[in-house]
Symmetry: none
Subunit: 605 residues, 2 copies
Amino acid sequence: MAPQPPKPSAGAILIKPYKVQESPFYTHVAQSTGPVNIVTTAGQIGRNPDGSVPSDPVEQIRQALTNLRRCLDAAGARIQDVMKLTYFIVGFDHTNPRHRQPLLEFLGDHRPGSTLVPVPALALPEIIFEVEATAAVPQYPPESVDVVIVGAGLSGLQTAVDLYKAGLTVKVLEARDRVGGKTYSVPAQGSVCDVGAAWINDTNQSKMFALAKRFGLDLIEQNTKGSIVVDDGVGKLKTHPYGQLLSTAEDKEAIDDVVRIRDLFEETCQQIDISNPVASGRKARKDLDNITFEDWVRSHGPYKEDALNALTIGARAMLGVEPAEMSALYFLDYCKSGGGYMQMRSDLKGGGQYLRIAQGTQSLSRGLAGEIPPNAVAFMSPVRQIEQRAGGLRVVSARGVYEASRVVVSVPTPLYREIAFDPPLPPEKLRLSQATLLGDYCKSIVFYRSPWWREHGLCGLAQSCHGPFAVTRDSSVDEDGHYSLTCFVVGQPAREWMQLSRKGRDQAVLDQIQKLYGPFAKVEDPVDIVEQIWQNEQWSQGCPCPVMGRGGLTEFADVLRAPAGPIHFVGTETAYEWKGYMEGAVRSGERGAQEVLLAMNRAKL
Amino acid sequence: MAPQPPKPSAGAILIKPYKVQESPFYTHVAQSTGPVNIVTTAGQIGRNPDGSVPSDPVEQIRQALTNLRRCLDAAGARIQDVMKLTYFIVGFDHTNPRHRQPLLEFLGDHRPGSTLVPVPALALPEIIFEVEATAAVPQYPPESVDVVIVGAGLSGLQTAVDLYKAGLTVKVLEARDRVGGKTYSVPAQGSVCDVGAAWINDTNQSKMFALAKRFGLDLIEQNTKGSIVVDDGVGKLKTHPYGQLLSTAEDKEAIDDVVRIRDLFEETCQQIDISNPVASGRKARKDLDNITFEDWVRSHGPYKEDALNALTIGARAMLGVEPAEMSALYFLDYCKSGGGYMQMRSDLKGGGQYLRIAQGTQSLSRGLAGEIPPNAVAFMSPVRQIEQRAGGLRVVSARGVYEASRVVVSVPTPLYREIAFDPPLPPEKLRLSQATLLGDYCKSIVFYRSPWWREHGLCGLAQSCHGPFAVTRDSSVDEDGHYSLTCFVVGQPAREWMQLSRKGRDQAVLDQIQKLYGPFAKVEDPVDIVEQIWQNEQWSQGCPCPVMGRGGLTEFADVLRAPAGPIHFVGTETAYEWKGYMEGAVRSGERGAQEVLLAMNRAKL
């Protein structure tokens, strides 16, 4: 593979002074090195995002450090950039320094300076620990390029590659310390597992298939051999061979309901014109945009609960939201962008979940990054300001300032608000950013010694309208001896599950696997669990695709892709085809590059 | 008007991290941006400059924040540059966070990070609040110019304009965020009021009259129609038509005393040679320099108290000092610089207080600033070091470092000590800086719905040897519907008045207006009061002109204007004519420019 972008160097040099007694927990002196931005934080306390405070003191300390980590992330600072920490501790007992273990986990190998201050109280009576940090974030030299791209996910990288190949100079500013965005392949059990986007196909996802071939990646056909397990919440658990109707309903009427609503949805979906969804078909479809997907289902009822439940599982598994949270037209258009509801949900050839990548989908992003110069990507560089000036654009990131003629923003629409645009974005673009909702989308990937489900005639697909997970899929890489079930914890059940401790979350998933698979197979003990909560990721804030509520497409269908002067917008949600998928991301990246080249009269380069 | 110099950008970007609960009182993360100087402060406590501590806890907190504001000012840091605050609070009660209101007033719209640390005690038993700050002050790129001018008051700007017109490159480093120094026009009641220098004339202040014409400003004749009110402290209140002898004395002897000492003073004054005051007249006047003005008056006595009181009011109103605090020769020379005591004190044509400027006197400074390039003035840039090196001078300001062949210092003599000169200034120059005293000079400008004093045949001039104010003058701008009395709180009474709260100060002024005017007119309720305490201004430290005590002129008459190598000195106190007035400032600025041009052999440019 081509050389990858270099990781940023540390901003703080730690120094051991002569004849001052050393500590295993901190270093006495820190020195910033080179040009740096100084980052300071407010004192962080152990409050959860909802304002609650864990009752267990150690959990409270852990939460304060989690908040400090979020503060540092927000400023593009890594642990290695921290120069100094100050702890304020109520009721400190030097014989039981209970902050120490969470702190060592937080610090890793880094040992910045620290001061521990026992105090009689903190700002609120329930708070027993507060921590603040000073960090030094190294600054790259100022640079002037043709185009700055904000975000090194698939869409941003595709834009960068196309522009670079057309002869322009590019700089990709990535907030994380890796490329890939929601393509994120994590090493586990001698293999990798995809905690984000995982599937492509070779039929109607031409971009993805071409990239996989270009980068020499190995494709794995999704396992659909055998039966699936279904729990739609109203009857008993059942198994069906893959491809049969998914329902536990016993009576014919209920099964008819499921079929009828599914077929009606598919039929309506096929009428949508993805180039202009609001005006689809013989009449404008504002009616479909003015009701939620749930109300649309109910309006064609009455239906038995299991018909509703089946579509609820679909909405959750596909977008991480509840049927009441998106407009019917939005969901119809979303499904149509992948060829229709049936095709998008399918694990068979041509379906949305047909092929996996043995090396992980992040290899696609790494492959694209390898096609631009290594120093064209700057990591840990969240963009905080984009200013239009007489001479061009000035982009202020956490690690440097860049001048450019054009900027391509590839972050999800709700994250536009994290950037101070000067002049501000057009009001409709800001409303778009505020109006779109990112799904609650988590994966809990459970590793086993063997694919025990296959031995019992099961393919690893399970569906449940009970939480925490809605769906499982076989995510094994047999060649690596990697056997896993990926559990999709999505929508409303995810919101409750995320409140649990890590241990509680793992147990809840294992319990549900036992409950669903136990009646049909002997469930092995797991060897590892990898989890990913996309909603906790500062630079994603959810997954897979920002969703629009009632009236959203009517208001924003044209706003979504409209440039704001010299600032362009890409990202999978802006795609016409395969929204929310890697294919959509790459297609939007190509569109963004075309826009820039046209605007710069460089189309023919 | 020509484009004005740009305001500096903020040094701190405030960042809201994802999933950390927001607060209305602070922001979790701050990041310095671009090249900055980092500013840290000691913990600030609520001590007054005299060491006393307010007994009211909230006043103590307010004073601590005032001290912090002074710390930031000293380093050229604005509130917007503050990244982090830390509060230490004794007896903190989270149900009654009494620091909050003063803090919000201090912060304005800015919300830096903060940590609140309840503590059992602070360094002194009476202290209940301490606050420290970290700020990031953006740095301009290094620059090399022919001449750096320190201070953008009238004298510095006049020097800059003359040098710029002679073809030199200039940089004016101004500690404040505005031009004008002691010309400061504050918007109020739909008009402006001059809280600093306010009067010019068109007879013997040729420079000021020319500038006013050049900048198209509207002149207002000072109102002297009607009577003045006099309270010289020994008799009853009286009114006299403007221009008559000012005294409440009843007996002829006392009135004769007043006339005699006034005439003697004027006669002596007229003998002074302003180009060489110490050698004035037939014999050297060291004798006049070796006694204070008070002793000089007494030495020609005995007088009744009201004769002394009349001259005390004069000293206070003209220089903000007591008659015992300056040498007789200094005051004589000061008066002579404006044509004599009678002319300097006069509000009639040719007098020191004949014409006001409807747009405010700061318009004169803005006009001058508009005649040099906008980026030739750098705001919030107090100069801290001036180093002479082989290649020239290096001037270190809070926001940048500049190289120059010459430097012109336009700050008041007592402020030379704020700058570290390397090599140090000549010892006599340092002694000058230490020996000169800035007056206690305050204005309390009281706005009314109508000029009620005029309806009762009064011109708005009042004199009083009781505090708080010594003099009032009509400062209305009738065209704007702006009616006000400017009350001069000066000298010893000002020192006591400044100790009061703002509310107390306002009330004391209103009480005195009632006391003086009440017997002769129906005093309206005020609609607004604007006050200015020049002694509290870090970059003025008093007003209008540094005063010399006994022996001062003998020692410093030649030192005052002498350059120190390539460093030149201007400012109204260095003028020959109209010292302490705007006219003097501008004339000194012209003299400074001529010195530089001569020294650089550019006189003919």
